[in-house]
C-alpha cells in the first residue's frame, strides 16, 4: 500500500506541475527516442496499426455525440431514418422550439443551474481549502482520527444520508430552494476535494510557512498569503470538477426541486422527456446539446487540470 506513493507520481511534483502538462510525458519521450534508433519498417506498420485501432475506437466513441449534434439540426422524422452525419439543410427550428418548449424558456433553467454551480464552487473552494490547510499543516488532537474519517467519507454512498437529509431540509423549509444543493458544499462534504488539496499543500515547501511565521504571520495570514496563492492549480481542478459534477447532478435536484420555477437543467430535461412522447426528438436533442455545451467548453479549456486531477487522486 505504502509503495503506491512511489509507483504513482509524487503528489507534489504531479499536482504542482498541473500548469505544464508536458512534464509528465517525459518517460514516454525517452521511449520514443529509443524507438527511433531502431526505426524500421516493422515499427512503422505497428504504429500504423495502432493508429488504425485508435481512430476506429475513438470514432466509435464519439460518433453518437456527433450524430446527436447533427440530428439536432435535422427535421424530426429524419432522426429515425438517417444514421449518417451529412446534412442537406439546417433545421434551426429544433433549437427555437426546444428553447421554449417548457414552462419557462430553457435559459431560465440554465440560470438556475448556474446559481447552484457558482454556489457550490465557492462553497467547495472555501471550506475544502480551509480543512485541507488544517490537515496538511497543523498539529492538533484527533488529527489522525479525523483525517481517517475524512477519507472514509469519500467512499460513503450518499444514499445512507439522503433520507434524513431530506427530512432535515424539508423541516427547515428548504425544499424547492437551492440551499440543500449548496449548503453541504459550504460544509466541505465533498471530502474528495479536501483530500486533493491536502495532497497539494503537502507538496509546498514548509520553509515558506516558516519564513512567514518568523515575520510574525499567524495561521490565517499564512493560509491566505502563502498557501492559497501557491495552490491555484488545485483550486482550478476543484473548480472544474465541481462545475461538471454539479452541472450534471440529477439526483439531488430531482429530490429537492419539484417546482418548475426552480428546475435545474437536468430535471428540466427530464421533464421535457416526460412531456413529449417521442414526437419531438429534434428539439429534445437540441436542448440536450445546449445542456452539454458548458461541460464541453470547460473540458476544452480546463482539460489539463482535469487530467492532472484524476491522475493524482484517481476519481472520475
Amino acid at each position: 500500500m505504502t509503495t503506491k506513493l512511489e509507483t504513482l507520481p509524487a503528489p507534489d511534483k504531479n499536482t504542482a506541475g498541473a500548469g505544464k502538462p508536458t512534464n509528465h510525458r517525459k518517460p514516454a519521450k525517452r521511449r520514443e527516442s529509443r524507438g527511433t534508433l531502431a526505426f524500421s519498417r516493422a515499427a512503422r506498420t505497428r504504429a500504423l496499426i495502432k493508429h488504425g485501432i485508435l481512430i476506429l475506437a475513438g470514432g466509435l466513441m464519439i460518433y453518437p455525440l456527433l450524430w446527436m449534434v447533427v440530428s439536432s439540426l435535422r427535421a424530426n422524422e429524419l432522426i429515425f431514418r438517417e444514421p449518417g452525419l451529412w446534412l442537406n439543410s439546417l433545421e434551426m427550428s429544433n433549437y427555437t422550439d426546444g428553447w421554449s418548449a417548457l414552462t419557462h424558456p430553457f435559459g431560465h433553467y440554465m440560470l438556475n443551474s448556474a446559481i447552484v454551480v457558482i454556489g457550490s464552487i465557492l462553497g467547495n473552494l472555501i471550506s475544502c481549502s480551509m480543512a485541507a490547510y488544517a490537515f496538511a499543516r497543523l498539529q492538533f488532537t484527533g488529527k489522525k482520527l479525523f483525517f481517517g474519517i475524512m477519507l472514509l467519507t469519500i467512499m460513503l454512498p450518499f444514499h445512507v444520508v439522503i433520507v434524513p437529509q431530506y427530512i432535515l431540509f424539508s423541516q427547515i423549509g428548504w425544499v424547492n430552494t437551492f440551499w440543500p444543493l449548496i449548503v453541504p458544499k459550504l460544509l466541505a462534504t465533498d471530502a474528495f476535494f479536501v483530500f486533493l488539496m491536502v495532497q497539494f499543500i503537502r507538496g509546498i515547501p514548509k520553509d515558506l510557512d516558516e519564513a512567514a511565521r518568523i515575520d510574525g504571520a499567524g495561521h490565517p495570514r499564512i493560509f491566505l498569503r502563502v498557501i492559497l496563492p501557491l495552490m491555484v492549480p488545485a483550486l482550478a481542478t476543484t473548480t472544474i470538477f465541481t462545475f461538471i459534477w454539479t452541472w450534471n447532478d440529477f439526483f439531488g435536484a430531482l429530490i429537492y426541486l419539484t417546482d418548475p420555477d426552480m428546475f435545474t437543467v437536468p430535471v428540466a430535461l427530464r421533464a421535457f422527456v416526460d412531456s413529449q412522447s417521442a414526437t419531438s426528438w429534434g428539439s429534445l436533442f437540441a436542448m440536450s446539446i445546449v445542456s452539454l455545451l458548458p461541460v464541453f467548453l470547460v473540458f476544452l479549456f480546463g482539460q489539463r487540470f482535469l487530467i492532472k486531477g484524476i491522475a493524482t487522486t484517481g476519481i472520475k
Binding site: G35, S291, F299
Partner: protein, 314 residues
C-alpha cells in the same frame, strides 16, 4: 497518493506518529479547529448525524407526516420477502460485475496502446476522456434512449446490413445490456489513471527483459501487469463503489420506472421509488443501510483478495 493507500499508510504510521504528535500537541489546536469548523459542522450535520438518523429510521415506519413508529426488525423482514428488491439486487450485481470489468478492461487496453509514445496522444486522450465527463448527464441518457430504441441509431445502422435489430431498450433481455454499455463508454477516467501508472514503470525493466529475450506478451505478464496491479486495484475499488450507486442513466432510460418488467430496476432506483415515490422512509432507510453493508462487504473482499494479486515493488 490515492485515498485508499492513504488509509492504510495511516494505520502503518501509527507508532511513531503518536509520539511526535504528543510533543507538538496543544500548539495549534485552536487554529486547527477554526480551520476545520465548516468541515466538522458538515461531518456532524450532513454526514454522521443523518447516518445515525437513517439507522434509527430503518427500525421504524415513517411516512414524513406522522412521527416515526418503532417497528423493530420489520423493515428488514420485509426486505427478506420482497421479490422486487431481490430482483433489483440482481440487476445491480449484473451491472456492477459485468460493467466494471468490461470498462476497466477497455480502459487498460486503450491505455496500453496509447502508452508507447504515440504521436497525437493528447488528441486521442481527449477523445477517449470526453465521454466519461458527459456520461453521467441526463442529456447522454436521453441520447442512449434514442440510440438503442426500436428505430434508433443502432438499428438504423444494422438495417444497412439487412439486419432487423430488436428494440434494445424495450426488450427486458437487452435493456440492462445497453446501460452496461453506457458504463463501458465512460472508460476514459480509469484510462487516464492507467496511463499515469504506466508512465511510472521504469523503462529499465523492459530493457533488461529485452536483453533476456522476453517477448512482448511476457513483458506484459511479468512486468506491466504486476507493476500496474496497485492501480488496477485502486480503479477496481473505486469503480465498484461508484457503480453500486448508479442511478441517473437507469432512471432516464427507463423513464423512471426501471422497466421493461423491472429489468433496469437498479437497487438505487427502487430505493428512490420507496423513499421518494411512496414516502416509505423507514423502508428506504433500511435499504440504504443494506446497500452500505453490501458495498462495505465487497470493498472488504477486494482488500482481502488484493493480498494475493496486488504486487508492491518495495
Amino acid at each position: 497518493m490515492s485515498a485508499i493507500s492513504e488509509l492504510s499508510t495511516l494505520k502503518r504510521r501509527k507508532g511513531p506518529m503518536t509520539a511526535a504528535e504528543k510533543k507538538a500537541n496543544g500548539r495549534d489546536n485552536k487554529a486547527a479547529y477554526i480551520f476545520l469548523l465548516p468541515w466538522l459542522v458538515g461531518l456532524v450535520a450532513i454526514t454522521v448525524g443523518p447516518m445515525l438518523m437513517s439507522l434509527y429510521l430503518s427500525f421504524t415506519d415513517y411516512n414524513l407526516l406522522q412521527p416515526p413508529e418503532w417497528v423493530g426488525l420489520d423493515n428488514f423482514i420485509r426486505m427478506f420477502a420482497d421479490a422486487r428488491l431481490h430482483n433489483s439486487l440482481g440487476v445491480t450485481f449484473t451491472y456492477v460485475f459485468v460493467g466494471v470489468p468490461l470498462q476497466l478492461g477497455v480502459a487498460l487496453l486503450i491505455a496500453l496502446v496509447l502508452d508507447k509514445g504515440l504521436r497525437g496522444l493528447p488528441f486521442y486522450r481527449s477523445v477517449f476522456y470526453l465521454p466519461s465527463l458527459l456520461g453521467g448527464s441526463v442529456a447522454v441518457a436521453i441520447l442512449w434512449k434514442q440510440i438503442f430504441g426500436t428505430t434508433g441509431l443502432v438499428n438504423q445502422a444494422l438495417a444497412m446490413f439487412g439486419i432487423q435489430g430488436p428494440g434494445w431498450i424495450s426488450d427486458p433481455s437487452t435493456a440492462l445490456g445497453s446501460i452496461v454499455l453506457l458504463h463501458v463508454w465512460t472508460f476514459g477516467a480509469p484510462m487516464i489513471i492507467f496511463l499515469a501508472g504506466l508512465r511510472q514503470i521504469p523503462v529499465m525493466y523492459y530493457e533488461a527483459a529485452k536483453v533476456d529475450g522476453a517477448s512482448t506478451l511476457q513483458q506484459f505478464w511479468r512486468i506491466t501487469l504486476p507493476m500496474l496491479s496497485p492501480i488496477i486495484f485502486f480503479n477496481l475499488v473505486l469503480q465498484i463503489i461508484g457503480s453500486f450507486q448508479s442511478f441517473t442513466q437507469a432512471f432516464i432510460v427507463s423513464g423512471g420506472n426501471g422497466g421493461p418488467s423491472d429489468s433496469t430496476m437498479f437497487f438505487t432506483l427502487y430505493l428512490y421509488q420507496k423513499g421518494f415515490g411512496q414516502f416509505d422512509m423507514g423502508y428506504a432507510s433500511a435499504m440504504a443501510w443494506f446497500l452500505l453493508v453490501i458495498i462495505g462487504v465487497f470493498t472488504a473482499i477486494n482488500f482481502i483478495a488484493a493480498k494475493y494479486w496486488v504486487f508492491y515493488d518495495d
